[in-house]
Symmetry: C2
Subunit: 259 residues, 2 copies
């Protein structure tokens, strides 16, 4: 199938993917305009245009007479503001595991009205419900609960859910995940939650609720993730003059900062 996007936008995407791979790291010199001309068979003007787009996104920095340098690695495919639990835990030298507390097919009429609102469905729809407790070295860190519109992925029960749920959506069902919309709240854990996360009742943790969309506006899933108190924080860097924000939520393992 012929891609109808302009060539420079296709080039943008290819360059972002190249950037996000293992071949380059921050500080490295990236491809030059002329190298891109040769490799992708485009004009210098088109190559420069694509590169300058990545410069304005804050990923690259032009140095005239020297080259193009990597300022920041893009995180293509990163669906949430929260860094992947699995990769973050491994990076901390710990073993990430998941305990599936619940995996069932239910009717929309059986769940909270808020889930149906978020998913824009009526009571007759079927949903999958998946509840998991995420652990690092056996210690509970995150309690997550997810409702997925069953009609978009009918055979989901046949999957083990060991790997990435999103990879299953995209690769097995061909779903085009386009965005997520998260709400972040500070809440007090109730007894059930505190018990599962192995903390005392009454502590404060982050509750992140999110809708995931396919094809721009169609809700596919609704999830809530509750983080262990003192086990999580958000960092946000804002550059007002470049209209740039970068938010990162990450699990904390040794509680370096106490208030």
């Amino acid at each position: 199938m012929i891609n109808k996007d302009p060539i420079y936008q296709q080039l943008n995407n290819e360059l972002r993917e190249l950037l996000s791979g293992d071949q380059f790291k921050v500080g490295d010199k990236f491809l030059t305009e002329r190298t891109i001309c040769d490799r992708y068979d485009v004009s210098r003007t088109t190559a420069n245009k694509a590169l300058s787009n990545l410069v304005s996104e804050g990923l690259l920095k032009f140095k005239k007479g020297v080259g193009t340098f990597i300022q920041e690695k893009p995180e293509i495919g990163k669906l949430h503001s929260i860094t992947s639990f699995t990769e973050n835990t491994k990076r901390a030298g710990m073993d990430p595991t998941s305990e599936v507390l619940r995996f069932e097919r239910i009717k929309a009429s059986d769940v909270d009205v808020i889930a149906n609102e978020k998913l824009q469905i009526d009571n007759s729809e079927d949903l999958f419900r998946i509840e998991r407790l995420r652990k690092a070295n056996g210690s509970p860190m995150i309690l997550e609960d997810r409702f997925i519109v069953a009609k978009y992925c009918p055979g989901l029960f046949e999957h083990s859910l060991k790997g990435s749920l999103y990879a299953i959506f995209e690769e097995t069902y061909g779903l085009n995940i386009t965005s997520t919309d998260e709400t972040i709240q500070a809440v007090i854990l109730d007894d059930y939650q505190a018990d599962l996360l192995g903390v005392e009742s009454g502590m404060a943790g982050f509750l992140v609720s999110a809708v995931g969309y396919i094809d721009d506006e169609t809700p596919l899933w609704w999830e809530t993730t509750l983080h262990k108190p003192d086990g999580f924080e958000f960092r946000c860097k804002v550059k007002p003059k470049q209209n740039q924000q970068k938010l990162e939520g990450r699990v904390l393992f040794d509680n370096p900062n106490h208030k």
Copy 2:
């Protein structure tokens, strides 16, 4: 003084400012390449390059044969992920006020070591400390505490602090504010905080700590803002394929969502 940035980057900035003003709204048709050529005396290639940068930032959308349309208004000058309390409160039809609890000049040796770490100063430095309680219609919503490195704005005591502190930094002292770096935590309010915010002890609220920088890497201020429980939330929209995130923290006045 001559601006040494490339012409297309200066043009980027001017177009972002034009976009963020009152002249255009989302959905409107923006300037064409050829209009920009005429108005700013640049080549078509340079005009197209600048526009395509704003397209890749998600602000504009090109439609070949039709024109260039506004997809999103930039928020230039917005220093934090949090929407301005003053404008948010007014937008909700309420009256925003501030009670200054403390405004004093102190030695760095007299404050928590963490403030000195964040500000990268030693104990002999002078700081201004400003503590305020922000209210909507008289009801406390935010408790904020700020330390400012005195040497960059020596006469700060002479200002009323009724207006924007950041406007004073930039207009009166000529400081070049370049970024902020925030940490967001979920905390339990202590008795002092709960009392000031008019809630019971033991409730969960957001604690946002931030360093503000001038000239890229020099810390100017360190602040902590504690939000009234149930009186605040963050929303974040993520588009993984375009490497885009949009975070907005906002004060809630009528607690529409309860967990």
